[in-house]
């Protein structure tokens, strides 16, 4: 069995799972874990979108 993810969905899944682990391991209270996890997720996805648009601009 194999799966073919698109570039964006692969990046989304990566950001999601990595953010969960970062949130749990880098903060001490549940509230801080949640906030840091969401922050990491936003940074990952934001970075992906910015890099994507930057590459689009470079290509033009």
């Amino acid at each position: 069995m194999t799966i073919q993810l698109t570039h964006f969905s692969a990046a989304f899944v990566f950001a999601l799972f990595t953010s969960i682990v970062f949130g749990i391991t880098h903060r001490e209270t549940t509230r801080d874990m949640l906030r840091y996890g969401l922050y990491c997720f936003a940074m990952f996805l934001g970075g992906i979108l910015v890099a994507g648009w930057a590459m689009w601009l470079v290509r033009r």
Partner: protein, 139 residues
């Protein structure tokens, strides 16, 4: 005449003996991602770690990612092996079943390879976290 009180001598406190849990939790956590937290009754954290690291590794395999074996060649191959090794039981199972040996034929398969390496590296962080919980450094 006042009694002179002897100066309080501060004896060095004996080093805290390493508890059994500080050895077992990281070992179990390496073998099964999240298990180091679960055996310390951090159920939700452990299950989330298991789901996240396990999913990342399995997705990497399903995307036809390549698994690295112990090697003494290219530095990137060695680093890939170290990353993969972090996944513990998942890595051992994959090697045993001879999965992840195909040639990388498309871009997403290369992502799969990176997924498995990152899953292993994240498990190293989870192992360190389980150790910190075991020694009481983290609640």
């Amino acid at each position: 005449m006042a009694h002179s009180t002897p100066a309080k001598t501060r004896t060095a406190e004996p080093a805290q003996p390493a508890s059994m849990m500080s050895v077992i939790a990281p070992a179990v956590g390496w073998l099964i991602p999240g298990a180091g937290h679960i055996i310390q009754k951090r159920w939700i954290r452990g299950l989330l770690l298991l789901a996240s690291i396990g999913s990342l590794f399995v997705l990497g395999l399903l995307m036809q990612g390549h698994i690295y074996k112990a090697n003494g060649g290219d530095i990137l191959d060695i680093l890939g092996f170290i990353g993969d090794l972090g996944a513990g039981g998942l890595y051992i199972t994959t090697l045993t079943m001879n999965w992840g040996q195909g040639a990388i034929a498309f871009a997403v398969a290369d992502y799969g390879t990176k997924f498995m390496i990152v899953a292993g590296l994240l498990n190293f962080i989870a192992v360190a976290d389980a150790y910190h919980i075991a020694i009481g450094k983290k609640p």
